[in-house]
């Protein structure tokens, strides 16, 4: 079992700027854990603290239960894959991969052998004597992974390594990374701003915003039960309808909105009388004029996506609305500029107090 990583009330300030505050979570050994957030949310700072390039100004970081305080990146059982990959351009591929072993005083014969093994693991046989500049983006990616794995880290830290690749290759590399993680059993901590990437690859995800940890959970959990307005709107597409909570009973919140009283599940922090929003996913909306919660909108445009179409409209209170309509139902869809009614199940709505 590879090592766990535990953050206890970790904070990082650069001078007067607080980049990260009071972050606590535990990554289990062998887990594929993602830290998701928009750029500038502090996710890279967290990764660099785990790697040892930054020492947290508050709190502790434990790897396998051991406090990492004061240890540099070369003294930790972690390996970092940089966003830019940071391959050494003047060394052939195999020397890149074996650099960590070279630093550990492994003999040249052993280094070459280990490099060849890793080249095989990453489907790069025969590329050992090429220079990094001669490889394609995906191949360079694999070299960076092989180089990081060569030192047999317990924890592999990945800083948006796929962001430079084109979409097809990125999707392919996602699957490859996931498979590699399962095969090696190494703990992966993966940084990304791409929510679909995080949802597709991770066992669990930590969502960050403005240096604050918003929520930690499995992808499905974050999507279905967002704990904060930020998570609700950042993870996946959603509609937010503003109002004031009028009643809470049996896990259901009633919220007085400009469109009438709507009902949804009670989210964390909701209390009677507070300003709140009801969040409902586009795919939870059905074209119906009656039901538990019915809202009316003017259809502005319909984007056909293949299996489904996204209807963009304007609610009567002026807010935007997106509804996903299965393509087989498109015949029943209203004309552009026409009125449409949408309904959603109370269990599909979540009411969260405005943060």
């Amino acid at each position: 079992m590879s090592h766990s990583v535990e953050l206890q009330q970790v904070g990082m300030s650069f001078g007067a700027t607080r980049a990260v505050g009071d972050v606590s979570f535990t990554v289990q050994g062998g887990e594929f854990f993602s830290i998701l957030g928009p750029s500038g949310c502090g996710k890279t700072t967290i990764l660099r603290m785990i790697a040892g390039f930054l020492q947290p100004t508050e709190g502790r970081i434990l790897i396998d239960g051991k406090d990492m305080h004061g240890l540099g990146p070369n003294q930790r059982p972690t390996s970092l894959i940089f966003q830019t990959l940071a391959l050494f351009p003047l060394m052939p591929v195999w020397e890149n991969i074996a650099f960590g072993l070279e630093a550990r005083g492994v003999s040249k014969v052993e280094r070459r052998k280990k490099a060849d093994e890793l080249l095989a693991l990453t489907a790069l046989e025969g590329y050992g004597d090429r220079m990094p500049g001669e490889l394609s983006g995906g191949q360079r990616q694999r070299v960076a992974i092989a180089r990081a794995l060569a030192v047999e880290p317990q924890v592999l830290l990945l800083d948006e390594p796929l962001s430079a690749l084109d979409l097809k290759l990125r999707q392919h590399m996602r699957a490859e990374l996931r498979a590699l993680q399962k095969r090696t059993g190494v703990t992966f901590i993966y940084i990304t701003h791409d929510q679909s990437e995080a949802l597709a690859m991770s066992d669990r995800i930590a969502v960050m915003s403005a240096g604050v940890l918003q929520q930690v959970g499995a992808p499905r959990d974050l999507y279905d039960n967002p704990a904060t307005p930020f998570v609700a709107s950042f993870v996946g597409e959603t509609n937010a309808i503003s109002g004031k909570i009028t009643a809470l009973e049996g896990g259901v919140a009633s919220i007085e909105t400009g469109l009438g009283v709507l009902r949804g599940r009670v989210g964390p922090g909701a209390s009677v009388g507070s300003n709140a929003k009801l969040y409902v996913r586009p795919e939870a909306l059905t074209m119906a004029s009656s039901g538990e919660n019915t809202i009316n909108a003017t259809v502005e445009r319909i984007d056909f996506e293949g299996a489904f179409a996204l209807a963009h409209g304007k609610l009567d209170d002026g807010a935007a609305l997106v509804a996903s309509i299965p393509s087989i139902d498109l015949g029943k869809a209203p004309a552009i500029g026409g009125r449409a009614s949408f309904a959603f199940d109370t269990r599909q709505g979540v009411v969260l107090a405005d943060g």
Partner: protein, 293 residues
């Protein structure tokens, strides 16, 4: 050339080309051809110039080869110039690395200003400052005596003085190429090395120096050439035992009155410098265009 004409038009381009040509011919080619001409002809009284004895030969060069003292001064100048380049490199590299990778913009500006200000003053005067500093009854000895490092004043003029003066005079020629080269190294390269467990020494040897190779070679070549051709520092800071080859050349011209032999000596120095430079660049796999940048 076609590009030049397209950009500046016929008239201006022709003037530019003519000026460059004039400069190359008048300031570079002609003096060197004259030097070669002088070097290969014997030193004759004015009446015999152009006469039957005025023939080309290698006598002047061979004179140097057979003159043991001059020969040893020549080789000493070569290796001492290499030493100057090496010492300058050892001093500049850490500073260049710090400036390029760690210093804040403010610190960099301040350090570069501090390093550049002395160069607003003429080289002779700067060397004269060292002459005063290193004097037998000068400030350096006074300071060392007062803090008890030495018991009696030292004589600094000589090899040590020449080395100090030259390193000081040429430090910027080493610093800037290396600084420029290291500045273009992404920080992640060094961090990746550290993350993979490499020692500071290995990071420099395997990552920073290979990246900065062109800059290092350029700095060393500059410093070596300047040192080998230096006259002021050895003349002011030297001692009879630390004679520089340029002083011998000077003596042939202005004291020995034998311009031909002086030209031959200068030619040999030029050829050997060129050879050293080309070999260095070849070893560092840098071509002359990189140096010119």
């Amino acid at each position: 050339m076609a590009e030049l004409y397209k950009r500046f038009g016929g008239g201006l381009s022709t003037i530019l080309v003519a000026l460059v040509g004039l400069w190359l011919i008048g300031m570079v080619l002609a003096p060197n051809i004259m030097m070669i001409d002088y070097a290969l002809r014997p030193n004759l009284p004015p009446a015999q110039i152009g006469g039957p004895n005025d023939v080309y030969s290698l006598d002047n060069v061979l004179y140097l080869a057979n003159e043991a003292v001059h020969r040893s001064i020549f080789f000493k100048t070569i290796w001492a110039s290499a030493l100057v380049a090496f010492v300058t490199f050892v001093l500049c590299y850490p500073l260049a690395f710090w400036l390029a990778q760690h210093a804040t913009p403010g610190q960099t500006a301040l350090a570069l200003l501090a390093l550049t200000i002395p160069f607003w003053i003429n080289e002779v005067l700067r060397t004269l400052a060292w002459y005063i500093l290193l004097a037998f009854r000068g400030p350096l000895n006074a300071v060392l005596l007062s803090i008890g490092i030495i018991d009696e004043p030292m004589r600094w003029y000589g090899n040590g003085g020449v080395l100090a003066g030259m390193v000081y005079a040429y430090i910027l020629f080493m610093l800037f190429p290396i600084y420029n080269a290291i500045e273009s190294l992404p920080k992640e390269q060094i961090e990746a090395g550290r993350d993979l467990g490499a020692s500071t020494w290995r990071i420099h040897w395997r990552i920073v120096m290979p990246h900065a190779k062109a800059g290092i070679a350029t700095g060393c070549v500059f410093t070596f050439m300047l040192a080998a051709g230096s006259y002021v520092a050895p003349a002011l800071l030297g001692a009879p035992g630390s004679r520089w080859f340029t002083e011998i050349i000077y003596n042939w011209f202005f004291e020995g009155g034998d311009w031909n032999r002086g030209a031959a000596y200068a030619l040999v120095l030029l050829v050997l410098c060129l050879f050293v430079v080309l070999v260095t660049l070849k070893l560092a796999r840098v071509n002359l265009t990189d140096v010119a940048k």
